[in-house]
């Protein structure tokens, strides 16, 4: 009998191989081919892992929506009313390899040792992208928004939108469910000085959307970096340093 794909994947990643499976693999061309395919894929992933994905600016979708008609989508695409922002994808006319990690908006001088360095027990800090995911259904007035990315790999896993009017605002998070491990997930607004921060609430474990009341004063004072951290149950109210997602509101 042929081993399952799961077993073959185990062989491909270098897990200890059962003797019966090993014997089968020596003679079965079909399973040998599957194994080769999986090993080749591992090599391709190794090659591609550092590839940075960039988001085009919002204006691109607006132009596409204009050109392809269909009023509804066009209005929603344009509704954001944002001015063209400086390109934040790290892209420019310069060779891409030259585009290094950028930490925005504050100059990267403050002790990242605990805030970033300690992140995820030593996973390298990646690019903090603040690219904006196009939004198509957003009835309320959007004051500011940010895409939320992992700190280690710079991968966009959610977005934050601030909606409302006047001083009472809502911070809406839409994220891929994050794992809290043995702790819980806490949402923070970090000041651009990277020194001050306020906790805005707890994100239920496994939740993918949650709203938090905030005030416009916070944003005016520079608390614009949305941060989701994993906090242990340790009676220490301060940030654990274990940030999962982050993005800067703009």
């Amino acid at each position: 009998m042929h081993p399952s794909d799961d077993v073959l994947a185990g062989v491909a990643i270098g897990d200890d191989t059962d003797e019966a499976v090993a014997a089968h693999l020596r003679t079965c061309n079909r399973c040998g081919a599957t194994l080769d395919e999986l090993r080749e894929l591992i090599a391709r992933v190794a090659d591609a892992a550092a590839e940075q994905l960039h988001q085009p600016s919002d204006a691109v979708w607006s132009r596409i929506a204009d050109e392809t008609g269909e009023g509804g989508a066009t209005e929603q695409g344009l509704q954001k009313g944002r001015r063209d922002e400086p390109d934040q994808s790290g892209a420019s006319d310069a060779p891409l390899e030259a585009a290094g990690p950028t930490l925005e908006p504050a100059p990267p001088r403050f002790g990242r040792t605990w805030l970033w360095g300690a992140v995820a027990a030593g996973v390298a800090v990646g690019v903090l992208t603040a690219t904006v995911v196009p939004q198509f259904t957003r009835p309320q007035e959007v004051v500011a928004k940010a895409s939320l990315s992992t700190l280690d790999t710079g991968q966009t896993q959610g977005r934050a939108t601030v909606t409302g009017q006047g001083t009472a605002l809502d911070l809406n998070l839409q994220v891929q469910p994050q794992t809290a491990g043995t702790g819980f997930l806490e949402v923070w607004l970090i000041n651009t000085d990277l020194k001050r921060m306020v906790s805005v609430g707890v994100l239920p474990n496994g939740s993918n959307a949650q709203e938090f009341p905030i005030t416009s004063t916070l944003l005016e004072q520079g608390y614009v970096i949305v941060d989701i951290s994993r906090e242990p149950f340790d009676d220490r109210p301060q940030h654990s340093g274990d940030s999962l997602l982050r993005g800067t509101l703009s």
């Binding site: 994947a9 992933v45 590839e51 695409g77 198509f136 999962l244």
Partner: protein, 190 residues
């Protein structure tokens, strides 16, 4: 955005697009704008031009929606095919303009350069996207194992996951990637 069954989701999008559903175009854009733009950017290395190409690709996708056959291939494969053509057109036009301006044609042309770059670039970008779509912590587990060559024990320690969980992420993630990428080689146009 990630989905558990990217192939059938991709098929639904193409079917919607074929029927003239503009929301399907918006959904396609959300899902693949980064792939198209990143491929273009890698090749032309200018973000304005890459945005122009991205725009042309999605407008082109909308206009040629009748030629789409979800049974024949994936949305990603189809869009990458359109992107490849758009990039080639762009580069050809740029080369022609440059030639006209300078009236010389010495050295290897941009066109040849771009074509050589293309397959490797699209492959890498598509895999990077598929990897990202695995979600966390699975994507990081795969990156650390395959690209950074960490042992499974090291990954478990670094991410605070049980060793068995790390191995299970690796096995399932690898098979998920294979399934996602499988459809990509096939262009969904008729």
């Amino acid at each position: 955005m990630p989905s558990d069954d990217s192939r059938s989701a991709s098929g639904d999008l193409l079917a919607g697009l074929r029927q003239g559903d503009h929301d399907a175009l918006a959904a396609l854009y959300r899902q693949y704008a980064a792939v198209v733009y990143s491929v273009a950017l890698r090749t032309v290395r200018n973000h304005h031009e890459a945005e122009d190409i991205t725009q042309r690709v999605f407008i082109g996708a909308w206009r040629s929606r009748h030629t789409v056959d979800p049974a024949r291939g994936s949305a990603a494969g189809w869009l990458v095919g359109i992107t490849r053509n758009a990039v080639a057109d762009h580069v050809e036009q740029r080369t022609r303009t440059a030639r006209t301006l300078r009236a010389v044609s010495a050295g290897p042309t941009m066109e040849q350069h771009a074509t050589a770059l293309d397959t490797a670039v699209t492959d890498r970008v598509l895999i990077a996207q598929a990897l990202a779509d695995l979600g966390e912590p699975r994507a990081s587990v795969l990156r650390l194992a395959f690209a950074d060559d960490l042992t499974h024990e090291q990954i478990a320690g670094r991410l605070g996951l049980p060793l068995g969980t790390v191995k299970s992420h690796l096995r399932r993630g690898l098979l998920q990637l294979r399934d996602t990428i499988k459809g990509v080689g096939h262009d969904a146009s008729q």
